[in-house]
């Protein structure tokens, strides 16, 4: 799945592109305005942007040039899709540093083929699409760490070089779930003052699956400055295709820094009133921190054996649909106790299968 940003002021076309690309398995974000498109590209780091040329205010060539000049968006694949259908228009699009050009009207299957070509080219030249996902809940005990561990293992198994960070001041339990000795932690790196990616490698633990892990201390430590956290996430993004962050279950400056530096925030919710209330609070906190709603995804986790609130009731209360739903799995507690995550020890268990489906 790739994230594709469509910047086109034709609302009918936006809608058609959204349906077509979603059917192709992609996540689609649309906007009709060039300036807003630039802001969304900076926030969401899409793998591909489809950009119209004839838009009022900022035209498509200006959008493409600004994206290429901004290090945050310079590597996005860009397809110019325009009704200016002359050879000089193709030359202008390529001169603005778009990757390719198509003239409207275009047949849907031709466009989808071109989109997939550009995504494949991008993967070949830049490696897999990078994504940083922060998992959080402001209520403990809803299964955030279990999900983070199994999700990271699922991606690692798909040959996506993945790093799992337990970004708590302590105590963290990621190392325990993976039966690793947390001899070095992210707090040690933060206090070292070493700004390099090579230096950071000295603090990473390696799980037998190949997963890289940056553990939290067992004994709580003073939190690191937010700029060190942002730097840490930035360094890991350079090195790994996927970065999975197990966030603290309280909201403070550290939490806000992690959320701001992540591509996606998965809010984990158990079907009970306390978790629902905490999720409402978390959504408000993220909104106050100006985290765009598009970056927020909800995961329902049936972490208890007894049935709880109905999913539809939770969705209605939150005004937000779920990205996925995880079943209760009685094997989970033994897996944690033994340090043998389900994703590696019982990969066909219902919970492992459900978590793997979230990586598609």
């Amino acid at each position: 799945m790739a994230t594709i940003l469509v910047i086109d002021d034709d609302l009918d076309l936006q809608q058609m592109l959204r349906l077509m690309l979603q059917r192709g398995g992609h996540k689609v974000v649309t906007t009709g305005d060039g300036s807003d498109g630039l802001a969304k590209a900076k926030q969401l780091h899409p793998e591909l942007a489809i950009v119209d040329v004839m838009m009022p205010g900022m035209n498509g060539y200006q959008v493409v040039r600004k994206m290429r000049d901004d290090p945050d968006t310079a590597n996005t694949a860009i397809l110019v899709l325009t009704a200016r259908a002359q050879s000089v228009d193709r030359e202008a699009a390529l001169a603005a540093r778009a990757d390719d050009y198509m003239a409207k009207p275009v047949a849907p299957n031709e466009l989808l083929t071109k989109v997939n070509e550009l995504l494949a080219q991008r993967t070949a030249t830049q490696g897999p699409a990078q994504e940083t996902i922060a998992l959080m809940s402001l209520r403990g005990g809803v299964g955030v760490t279990s999900l983070a561990v199994n999700l990271a293992l699922a991606w690692q198994a798909k040959n996506r070089t993945t790093c799992l960070i337990d970004l708590k001041p302590g105590p963290g339990h990621v190392a325990l779930h993976l039966r690793l000795n947390a001899k070095t932690t992210w707090i040690d790196w933060a206090n070292s003052g070493d700004p390099s990616i090579d230096g950071l490698a000295n603090y990473l633990l390696t799980h037998e699956s190949g997963l890289s892990v940056l553990a939290a201390p067992v004994v709580p430590a003073p939190p690191a400055p937010p700029d060190r956290v942002t730097k840490l996430i930035g360094l890991l993004r350079e090195k790994f295709a996927r970065v999975v962050i197990d966030m603290p279950s309280n909201w403070d400056v550290l939490g806000a820094s992690i959320a701001a530096a992540s591509d996606l925030i998965w809010l984990v919710i158990a079907p009970e009133v306390g978790s629902l209330q905490s999720t409402v609070g978390a959504m408000r906190a993220l909104k106050t921190a100006r985290i765009p709603d598009e970056r927020l995804q909800l995961i329902a986790n049936q972490s208890m054996a007894k049935p709880g609130l109905a999913m539809q009731a939770i969705e209605k209360a939150l005004g937000h649909g779920f990205k996925g739903s995880l079943p209760y799995d009685e094997a989970q507690s033994a897996a944690i106790a033994q340090g043998l995550p389900l994703m590696t020890s019982q990969s066909n268990s219902p919970l492992a299968v459900a978590i793997r489906s979230l990586t598609i």
Binding site: D10, D12, A83, Q86, A103, A107, P108, N109
Partner: protein, 173 residues
């Protein structure tokens, strides 16, 4: 299957020194009728993207309100005409043939095909009667001073008053 981006007609309007790209919602009419409508001397545009002829790929500016004097524009290129450029009337095609043409207008030479009777009469063709603009199909307009700059389309509508020379191949296409 529906083509993406086919609901509005996109046209490139050429005056002496500028290219104006526009997208039109024609509200049930066709472009040919609007151009040949004797009741108005102007063509109003919903939005206009202005380029200079010497840098035709570069957009200088866009404007949400514009108006064009029909008698002063040279030709209009429609890359993909669909059913919004000309009325389709099979009855009018009886006894007609396609003729290869070469046309010069200020700054450009245009090649393509016109639809005309088998017994072609160029004076009748050039007469400014009901139709002020002559449709040329599968056409290509080349900038005379820089032949690398071309504008092609399924249809080019040429203002008859701008035509300097019109040559027709003796053999129908």
């Amino acid at each position: 299957m529906t083509q993406l981006g086919a609901r509005r007609l996109t046209a490139d309007i050429f005056a002496d020194s500028h290219r104006i790209s526009t997208q039109m919602s024609l509200r049930g009419r066709v472009l040919g009728d609007l151009l040949n409508d004797p009741n108005t001397s102007y063509l109003e545009l919903d939005i206009a993207y202005v380029s200079r002829i010497d840098h035709p790929g570069e957009i200088l500016a866009d404007y949400s309100l514009s108006i064009v004097r029909k008698d002063r524009l040279t030709f209009i290129v429609v890359a993909s005409m669909g059913d919004m450029a000309l009325k389709q009337n099979p009855a009018l095609k009886m006894g007609m043939r396609l003729w290869p043409v070469f046309v010069t207008v200020p700054g450009f030479e245009i090649t393509g095909q016109i639809e005309a009777p088998v017994n072609l009469d160029l004076r009748t063709l050039m007469a400014i009667g009901v139709e002020r603009f002559v449709p040329v199909f599968d056409a290509k307009a080349t900038l005379s001073m820089n032949q690398s700059v071309e504008f092609g389309g399924e249809l080019v509508l040429i203002n008859k008053t701008a035509i300097e020379v019109l040559c027709v191949s003796s053999k129908p296409a």
